[in-house]
Amino acid sequence: MAIQKQYYRRKKVCKFCVERIDNINYKDVKLLSQFVPERAKIMPRRISGVCTPHQRLLSDAIKKARNIALLPFATE
């Protein structure tokens, strides 16, 4: 008999849609660093819950920020 796990998973929502953040700028380190965990990788959508259009803007911004040494490429 299969026992169904009974836990409720909270529905993830896109931070940028909810808070109406239109401008995902590469200079905004405080905002971007929320989506860069310790290993300095870009957080995947399945974990952060960011929607596809915003994830695309976000990853572009993070890559620009890396280029000008605002964010790391990898942890040393």
Binding site: D22, N23, Y26, I68, A69, L70, L71, P72, E76
Partner: protein, 136 residues
């Protein structure tokens, strides 16, 4: 003419006057080419996320300009040559700005439409059923 942002990092042991001198030079290039330097911001010293040319920190400078590709190319060439500049990045902003304006306009339109719909619905709900009845 396009909008660009040019950000560069000057070596941390460069004195303030040298940074000003670099800024002056770049501004000269922009105005000589027929562009416009809208904003020049010194963002101050910051720790770098990784070592660049053996430096752990650097002074950031941000230029917001209106210029052509040729001017940007010239600025980049100059920045590459300068020893004090350890890193630079040019970002084209006009597409981004266009996108933001579009979103903003869309939001505003929706907000006004919603406001008007609320106001009208109150008036319309009363007479409309009464008007329909005699027609049938």
């Amino acid at each position: 003419m396009r909008n660009y942002e040019i950000m560069f990092i000057v070596s941390p042991n460069a004195p303030e006057e040298d940074i000003d001198k670099i800024n002056g030079q770049i501004e000269g290039v922009i105005t000589a080419g027929g562009g416009k330097a809208e904003k020049i911001e010194k963002l101050g010293k910051r720790r770098l996320a990784y070592t660049v040319k053996k430096f752990r920190e650097g002074s950031y400078v941000l230029f917001t300009i209106q210029a052509d590709g040729a001017i940007v190319r010239e600025i980049e060439r100059r920045l590459r040559v300068m020893d004090l500049v350890i890193k630079y990045l040019t970002v084209r902003m006009d597409d981004d700005m266009k996108r933001l304006d579009k979103i903003k306009a869309h939001r505003q339109k929706r907000a006004t439409r919603r406001g008007r719909a609320h106001a009208e619905s109150g008036d319309r709900r009363g007479p409309s059923p009464a008007e329909q009845m005699p027609e049938e």
